[in-house]
C-alpha cells in the first residue's frame, strides 16, 4: 500500500462524521413505521438544512415550483430517501466548504461537475425504468468525493497532480497515479467505508471510470459512468481536466437510451443543472 494512501487512511479516520440530522434520518428510514412529523421535526432543528431542502424541493428539477412550504410536505412528495440524500449532499458540501483551492481547480468546480453527474445519473436511471432513482442522484453526486479528500488531506501533493495535468494534458486520474501512486476512486472508497455508505454507492465511487465491476455490467455503476462522460462532453462543471473519455462499449450494451432522447430533453437538463447549482452552491 502506498504511504500516501496509508496516511490518508489515518486522516480519514479523523474526518468528522456526518451531522446528527443525517443519522436521525437514517434511523427513521430503518423504522418499521416512519413518522413523518417526527422526522420533519428533526430536520427543522437544523434551520440552514431545512431552508435549503425547501429551496431544492421547489426547484424545477422536481417540478413542484413553489408549492412545498413545509418539511413534512417535502418528505411526503419526495419520499424520505430523497430528502435524506439531499441532506447528505448538503452536509458533504458544507463539510468540505473550507477546502483550500488548488491552482486551476476549486471545490466549486468539482461540485458543479458532481451535481451534473448526479442529475444525469438520475435521468439515465429514470430511462431504465428504475423505481427508486434517489440513490442514482446520490451515486452521481458523490462519485468524485476522493478528489475533495485529496484536496483537503494531501493538498501540496495534489497541487503537483494538477501541474502535471496542465503540462501533460492528461486525465486527472492518470496524473494521480503517476504523482501519488493512487487515484481518487481508491481514496473515495475509504471515505465511503468510513461513512458506511451502501455497497452500491461505494462501487459507483470505485468503478465509475470503467463503468463495470470486475468486467461485469452494473446498472448503477454504468449510469454514473455514462453521466460522467456526458457531463464532460457538455462541459457541465469542471472535474479537473477538460478531456472527454470514450464510454465503455460494454456499458452502452447494457444501458439503452432511446434515440433522440437527449436531443428532446437537453434544454431542460441544462436548466435543471443551472438551477440546482444556484440552490446548492450559492444560496
Amino acid at each position: 500500500m502506498s504511504s500516501l494512501l496509508h496516511r490518508i487512511m489515518n486522516d480519514v479516520q479523523e474526518l468528522p462524521t456526518l451531522p446528527t440530522v443525517y443519522h436521525a434520518l437514517t434511523e427513521a428510514v430503518e423504522q418499521p413505521i416512519i413518522l413523518i412529523d417526527k422526522v420533519a421535526e428533526v430536520i427543522s432543528k437544523d434551520q440552514a438544512t431545512a431552508f435549503k431542502i425547501l429551496k431544492v424541493t421547489n426547484s424545477p428539477f422536481y417540478g413542484f415550483r413553489g408549492k412545498i412550504d413545509t418539511i413534512s410536505k417535502a418528505i411526503m412528495f419526495l419520499g424520505i430517501n430523497e430528502v435524506k440524500n439531499i441532506v447528505f449532499s448538503l452536509s458533504v458540501a458544507r463539510m468540505f466548504s473550507k477546502v483550500n483551492k488548488i491552482k486551476g481547480f476549486t471545490q466549486q468546480d468539482l461540485w458543479g461537475h458532481s451535481i451534473a453527474v448526479g442529475i444525469l445519473t438520475r435521468v439515465i436511471g429514470q430511462i431504465q425504468g428504475i423505481k427508486n432513482v434517489e440513490n442514482y442522484f446520490l451515486a452521481g453526486i458523490i462519485h468524485d468525493i476522493g478528489k475533495l479528500v485529496l484536496m483537503e488531506y494531501a493538498h501540496d501533493e495534489y497541487a503537483r497532480v494538477f501541474e502535471m495535468v496542465n503540462q501533460k494534458k492528461c486525465f486527472v486520474h492518470e496524473a494521480e497515479k503517476e504523482v501519488l501512486g493512487i487515484d481518487h476512486s481508491e481514496v473515495g472508497l475509504l471515505l465511503a467505508q468510513k461513512w458506511k455508505m451502501p455497497e452500491s454507492i461505494a462501487s459507483s465511487i470505485s468503478y465509475h471510470q470503467t463503468g463495470v465491476i470486475d468486467g461485469k455490467p452494473d446498472q448503477l455503476v454504468g449510469s454514473v459512468h455514462l453521466a460522467n462522460f456526458i457531463s464532460r462532453l457538455f462541459n457541465l462543471g469542471f472535474p479537473g481536466d477538460n478531456f472527454v473519455p470514450q464510454p465503455n462499449m460494454a456499458v452502452w450494451n447494457s444501458i439503452t437510451i432511446p434515440n433522440k432522447f437527449f436531443l428532446s430533453t437537453s434544454n431542460k437538463l441544462f436548466e435543471d443543472f443551472d438551477h440546482t447549482i444556484s440552490v446548492m452552491l450559492y444560496s
Binding site: K67, F234, I257, P258, F262
Partner: protein, 109 residues
C-alpha cells in the same frame, strides 16, 4: 421549444410536461415542468387520462448555426475528445455538445 399533445403510451420517460395534468376534480396529478416517469403512466391510466401536453424541442434547431460555425465548434471539441462516435447515441450527444459550444460563442459575441 414547441408543445404537443401525445397519447400517454407514446410519452417517453424524461419528457418535460408542458402543462399541469389534472383529474376530473381539477386536482393536479403532475405539475407542468415535471419530467414524465414510468409510474405516471399507471397513475394517468387510473384516472382515465389518455393524452398529455409535452414540450418538444425542434430537431432542426442545429440549423440555426452555419456549417462553418459548427465545424469550428467541432474542431474545438476535438481538442478535448480524441475519438469518433461509434453509435447513434454518441453521435447525438456530440451534436448537442457542438450546438452548446456554438451557443456559448454566440452569447459571447
Amino acid at each position: 421549444m414547441n408543445e404537443k399533445e401525445l397519447p400517454v403510451d407514446k410519452v417517453e420517460v424524461g419528457t418535460e410536461l408542458a402543462s399541469n395534468v389534472v383529474n376530473k376534480y381539477n386536482q393536479v396529478l403532475i405539475s407542468a415542468g415535471s419530467r414524465f416517469e414510468e409510474k405516471h403512466r399507471f397513475l394517468l391510466k387510473t384516472w382515465g387520462i389518455k393524452q398529455v401536453k409535452v414540450k418538444i424541442e425542434s430537431e432542426n434547431k442545429n440549423f440555426s448555426f452555419s456549417e462553418e460555425q459548427k465545424l469550428e465548434a467541432l474542431n474545438e471539441l476535438k481538442e478535448r475528445m480524441f475519438w469518433s462516435p461509434r453509435n447513434d447515441i454518441e453521435t447525438e450527444l456530440v451534436q448537442i455538445a457542438v450546438e452548446r459550444i456554438c451557443k456559448s460563442k454566440a452569447a459571447i459575441k
